[in-house]
């Protein structure tokens, strides 16, 4: 029941997400435009004194790129401010962070949209957080990092996929690390395959293609685009409590939490009842 009802809604959600991402740059780059003020609009600004100075400020060859492609300069600006300290001004890598040359847009978008980058403190494993940048800024940084050198996986477009195939592929390829329930599990050295509870379809597809951290990358020869769509839509199905048909999920951690609940809730209650009944004896 739940599956069929949720189907269209999820599909629409996926399509909207994809459309939103595709259309994102257009309106958002427009809103990002005001930073470098174009000379003609500045006339309308009360501070008219600025306009004489503008031609003098913008001569030479550095002005044209920022004027023609503001998102580009915004990307460069943000990169220099937030990333260059670790990854180097041209993404060549430093002691504090790996080279970003040729990692590909999917990797950058994944790291930024899951809030992993910019790293604020050195952690063994960057956690999933709220992204530090808006979608437009992410787009801009992705574009800028792309200018360091080509190659690498592109940001995948994710469409609706087949749930059944997704379930089978997920169990075959992902469950050993992320657990069949998608709640995550420990790997070695205290590193974990994280819970997939917050992963959007695009992030799932990016993770599959990029292989962040300890996770292996799955190329098209192993998972075709249609199969990636299937896995992504199954992961959406796993998210939230839609699949917890039996009630409180208890974290989907398996029999040990269930045993704990049996003792701490069930048996404790029944022993309490026995004590109460025993104390009423003889009255």
């Amino acid at each position: 029941m739940t599956g069929t009802e949720a189907g269209p809604a999820r599909r629409i959600g996926v399509i909207l997400a994809v459309l939103g991402l595709a259309a994102g740059p257009v309106p958002l780059s427009a809103s990002a435009a005001p930073t470098p003020v174009p000379p003609d609009t500045s006339a309308a600004v009360p501070g008219g004194l600025v306009s004489p100075a503008t031609p003098g400020a913008g001569p030479g060859s550095s002005a044209p790129p920022s004027a023609t492609d503001p998102a580009r300069s915004r990307g460069a600006d943000l990169f220099l401010r937030s990333c260059a300290s670790c990854h180097g001004p041209r993404g060549e890598g430093t002691q504090r962070g790996p080279s970003l040359v040729g990692v590909g847009p999917a990797s950058v978008d994944f790291q930024l949209s899951t809030g992993r980058m910019p790293l604020d403190q050195e952690a063994a494993q960057p956690p999933h957080r709220r992204p530090a940048f808006s979608a437009a800024d992410i787009q801009a940084i992705v574009g800028h990092v792309g200018s360091f050198g080509g190659g690498g996986p592109q940001i995948p477009t994710v469409g609706p996929g087949d749930l059944r195939e997704g379930r089978e592929l997920f169990l075959a390829h992902c469950a050993a690390c992320h657990s069949a329930a998608g709640v995550g599990a420990t790997l070695t050295n205290g590193l974990v395959a994280p819970s997939l509870d917050r992963s959007t379809p695009v992030q799932v597809a990016e993770a599959i293609r990029v292989g962040p951290g300890l996770m292996p990358a799955f190329p098209e020869s192993i998972l075709s685009p249609a199969q990636v769509d299937a896995v992504a839509s199954y992961v959406q199905h796993l998210r939230g409590d839609r699949l917890d048909r039996g009630g409180a999920s208890l974290g989907r951690l398996g029999p040990m939490t269930e045993g704990l609940v049996a003792w701490v809730v069930g048996l404790a209650l029944l022993v309490g009842v026995a004590r109460w009944l025993g104390s009423r004896a003889g009255r």
Binding site: M1, T2, G3, T4, E122, A123, A124, L163, R164, R167, E168, L171, A172, A175, A176, C177, S179, A180, A181, A185, T186, T188, N189, G190, V192, Y234, L238, L243, D244, R245, G246, G247, A248, L250, R252, L253, G254, P255, M256, T257, E258, G259, L260, A262, W263, V265, G266, L267, L269, L270, V271, V273, A274, R275, W276, L277, G278, S279, A281, G282
Partner: protein, 575 residues
């Protein structure tokens, strides 16, 4: 009116033919002690009833076969997939059959409560010495039922043929296989071939719904029959002797109470079944030997075995040229020792205490410090083993390496049981010496003197002066005696001290001589000891329990801080 007449007719005609009246009269007149701990076994009994009720419902819809089937139904991610019939029918029970999921979950919760109640019941029997003559037989039956319950839980957990339980089944298979000489034969006999076979599910099913429940039902009948025949044991107390039972009659007062408990067991199992998800096999997916899911553990009641397998270092060795694989020691030997120990306990205890007498009165747990200490030590070990079965969950939640978790648990498994047992032993001795008070009233001096007693063998209660016994003769501590002391108002009091009871006289006397005379009048032939006032002298240090709690909290805090710092350092070093 009419029903009454009908019932009477019915009862009479049954009695005419079967002579049931004496039996029924005997049961109805049976007296049940009022102490709550006597109801633990009933929780187990009623959980079993719930298991049978819900199990019959499940049997109507469950397909015990690994034949290829196509699932079609409400669970979209499986719709149209090929799986085994067992798995498909379990998902169908969960999604497509009205009340099926409630029944499945209640069945599983009832199974967890069933074994838990058996264990609590067993602990009650153990710590109060209720297994002693004449009740050894019921102890043996009880241990057998525990083993059968574990086995039936395991088979029930495995028959849905899902990925998680399949992992457990494979482990049991390799543990059985590890037995030298006979292992290979045993698994072949049981499973009918190399793991996984198509025979396993149908065989486990027959065992799960028919064989073991039938044996369990028969054993329960014998267990209760013996109980009625031998009558209940009881805790010592006013008016309670080796020759009577004080409590409520089965009919009507006990019947009402026990039916109330039944209703509560039903309510709790079905509330859990309706509100808390258990074993969501649709998420785990069907069993596939090539796949795995992590974290993976079995149900708690077999998890101690899994924990032992994880904790024990992997050692293989050869006996007479036979390679013994690593699961043999932690799996077969440890499990075998556990149950051998349980079966033999009444006889070991009898030898240790040189006590072959029949007992109708129970020991308060403190009366046998050695038994209490041993039991607590074993419980501590099993608690560590249970935690070890969840090592992957702990590592995920704390984000620490599994190997570190295992290392710490290994240390705990070796280091925790003995101190826990010794502490329990000392507290029991102190309590016994202090006579009838709770743990909260113990002072540090009490425990210390109990400890000194263990070390030097001097009598209880500081430095008593022996009266009536020659100076220096070591009086056995457990011997009956009379104790005298001066209470905080300056008056003299006395009490009788036996191995397991102490009876304090009500009257106080202005002088020691008068108190001693009174004691001698009552117990002329016993030695008289002057002791420190039991429990709480004026200005005595605060109760040990409270102090210990505070100290433990502080130590725990430091340990937690140190652990955090340690892991931070490790993580930094790794980077």
């Amino acid at each position: 009116m009419i029903t009454r007449w009908l019932l009477r007719r019915l009862a009479r005609s049954v009695d005419d033919r079967l002579r049931t009246a004496p039996v029924v009269r005997r049961v109805l007149a049976a007296v049940f002690p009022d102490h709550w701990s006597f109801m633990l076994g009933e929780i187990a009994l009623y959980s079993f009833v719930v298991l049978v009720l819900t199990g019959v419902f499940l049997t109507l819809f469950f397909a015990p076969s690994t034949a290829d089937t196509v699932y079609t139904g409400a669970y979209a991610p499986l719709d149209g997939a090929r799986t085994s019939a067992a798995y498909a029918s379990t998902v169908r029970l969960s999604f497509d059959i009205r009340a099926g999921l409630l029944m499945r979950q209640s069945h599983h919760w009832a199974a967890l409560l069933f074994v838990g109640a058996i264990v609590l019941h067993l602990l009650r029997i153990f710590f109060t010495g209720a297994f002693r003559r004449p009740r050894e037989m019921n102890w043996l039956i009880g241990v057998t039922m525990l083993a059968l319950a574990l086995f039936n839980g395991f088979t029930g957990y495995s028959i849905p043929d899902d990925l998680l339980s399949g992992t457990g089944l494979r482990i049991l298979y390799s543990v059985t296989q590890s037995i030298p000489l006979v292992g290979e034969w045993l698994v072949f006999l049981a499973a009918g071939g190399e793991f996984p076979t198509d025979e396993m599910v149908p065989r486990m099913f027959v065992s799960h719904v028919l064989l073991v429940p039938a044996v369990l039902a028969a054993l329960i009948a014998i267990h209760l029959g013996i109980l009625i025949r031998q009558k209940h044991s009881q805790f010592p107390g006013p008016g309670r002797t080796e020759n009577n039972v004080v409590g409520s009659l089965f009919w009507p007062s006990y019947t009402v109470r026990t039916l109330a408990l039944f209703a509560w067991v039903l309510a709790v199992t079905f509330a859990l079944g309706g509100l808390a998800q258990i074993n969501p096999v649709w998420i785990y997916g069907p069993f596939d030997p090539a796949q795995a899911t992590s974290p993976a553990q079995p149900d708690w009641y077999v998890a101690w075995g899994d924990g032992a397998l994880r904790l024990f270092p992997a050692v293989e060795f050869r006996i007479f040229g036979q390679l013994v694989p690593s699961p043999f020691l932690p799996g077969v030997v440890f499990g075998g020792l556990t149950f051998a120990g349980l079966y033999l306990w009444p006889f070991l205890d009898r030898r240790h205490g040189r006590d072959r007498l029949a007992h109708q009165l129970l020991d308060p747990p403190r009366a046998h410090p050695a038994r209490l200490g041993f039991g607590v030590a074993v419980l501590a070990l099993f608690a560590v083993l249970l935690a070890a079965a969840a090592d992957d969950v702990i590592a995920t939640i704390l984000r620490v390496p599994v190997l570190d978790v295992l290392a710490i648990l290994r240390v705990l498994a070796l280091a925790l049981p003995v101190p826990a047992g010794v502490t329990a032993y000392l507290v029991a001795r102190a309590l016994r010496a202090n006579g009838g008070r709770g743990v909260g009233d113990l002072t540090r001096a009490d425990v210390r003197s109990a400890g000194r007693l263990v070390c030097v063998g001097s009598p209880v209660g500081g430095a008593p002066t022996g009266i009536g016994t020659p100076e220096g003769t070591a009086e056995p501590v457990d011997a009956d005696r009379v104790e005298l002391w001066r209470d905080r108002t300056g008056l003299w009091r006395w009490r009788y001290r036996g191995a397991s009871v102490s009876l304090t006289a009500n009257r106080a006397y202005p002088s020691r001589a008068e108190a001693e005379r009174a004691a001698r009048t009552a117990y002329g032939d016993l030695s008289v000891w002057e002791v420190a006032p039991p429990g709480g002298r004026p200005g005595a240090p605060a109760a040990v329990a409270a102090r210990a709690g505070r100290a433990a909290g502080r130590v725990g805090g430091y340990l937690a801080l140190a652990a955090v710092a340690f892991w931070r350092a490790r993580r930094d070093r790794r980077r």
